[in-house]
């Protein structure tokens, strides 16, 4: 069985379409378990209708990114903060 789990780094290109700064070196705090990790160390699921980044400790959803090629939708509800 193929594994669908990747690192936050795998979403770096998509995130650079949205943000004008490098996000994978930013550190995010999980709103669920309070753990702090670099976005590059988030767990990434990219084989989905959008990209889902999850907490490496508790698997909670930290970010959802959807694009239709022109618009982008970002759901950051799982991130308490993102330090750039």
């Amino acid at each position: 069985m193929q594994s669908l789990k990747l690192d936050g780094n795998a979403a770096a290109g998509l995130l650079r379409e949205v943000f004008a700064v490098e996000i994978t070196t930013a550190t995010g705090t999980c709103d669920g378990c309070s753990s702090v990790s670099a976005a590059g160390a988030f767990v990434a699921y990219t084989q989905a209708p959008g990209v889902v980044l999850r907490c490496p400790r508790c698997d909670a959803v930290l970010m959802k990114v959807v694009t239709d090629g022109e618009r982008f939708w970002l759901d950051l509800r799982g991130l308490r903060s993102l330090q750039l």
Partner: protein
């Protein structure tokens, strides 16, 4: 960690193939001319996009193999038999052909001299590519940073960059191979999957607090990362890059 640099949003650029070089029966390196390439750090990747005549597009990520500062951008691509992009790149692409890339992307799985050492690089198969960019950078820049590559391949003929790694071994880096499926006659090296015992023997020891970079297929990365933590390496010292099903 460096302050977040404002980079501007990422755009697609045209890349032209200069040469396609076989590395192993399944792996080729593509030398690219990318006018206006902004430069990169060792460990970064590019997104690559192919467009068919009917407008159909397919996009994948590939690690950059070349060291920073070189004129020619090198990507090393493993052929995934049922893939869509890699068979085109390894079988069809000819010098002069063009496609689009954007990058470099990814600032996390990156080693810069300011991070220091020692370095432990653990590669499974084509996971060696971003680690090779680090080794080439170390070698070319004459950095005095102890670096060890533990490289797991199926067989001796499957070892990517084999001759170059032989040259680097004992010089700017130490290279340890393990061959998991077949070994040449007289092979005295490791012949099993990477495990905690092998990682402990290869070193560096945990009290040297090496920066560890692990790259390969997802199961390989998970196994190695768990083994490293089991040995006592701090999770914050371990950076991973998994190759997923989009690798085709």
């Amino acid at each position: 960690m460096a302050r977040a640099a404002v980079l501007g949003r990422l755009t697609w650029q045209v890349a032209e193939a200069l040469e396609v070089v076989p590395e192993t029966p399944r792996v080729k390196t593509i030398l690219l001319d990318v006018p206006g390439w902004p430069g990169h750090l060792p460990g970064q990747h590019v997104d690559l996009r192919l467009t068919a005549e009917d407008g159909y597009q397919a996009q994948r990520s590939y690690s950059i193999a070349s060291a920073p500062g070189t004129d020619v951008l090198e990507l090393t691509v493993e052929r995934i038999d049922d893939g869509e992009v890699s068979p085109y790149l390894t079988d069809e692409l000819r010098p002069g052909d063009r496609f689009e890339i954007r990058g470099p992307v990814g600032g996390y799985f990156v080693w810069e001299p300011s991070r220091g050492g020692p370095l432990l690089l653990v590669a499974g198969g084509s996971g060696v590519v971003p680690l090779m960019a680090m080794l080439r950078h170390l070698d070319g820049a004459g950095e005095d940073v102890p670096a060890t590559l533990l490289f797991s391949s199926r067989g001796w003929e499957d070892v990517i960059y084999r001759d170059e790694l032989e040259r680097l071994d004992g010089g700017s880096a130490r290279v340890v191979h393990t061959l998991t499926r077949s070994q040449p006659d007289g092979w005295t090296g490791y012949s099993r999957r990477v495990d905690p015992e092998m990682l402990a023997e290869v070193g560096p020891a945990t009290d040297e607090r090496p920066h560890v970079y692990v790259c390969g297929p997802t199961p390989f990365v998970e196994t190695v990362a768990s083994a490293l933590v089991e040995l006592g390496h701090e999770p914050s010292q371990i950076r991973t890059e998994r190759f997923g099903p989009t690798g085709g």
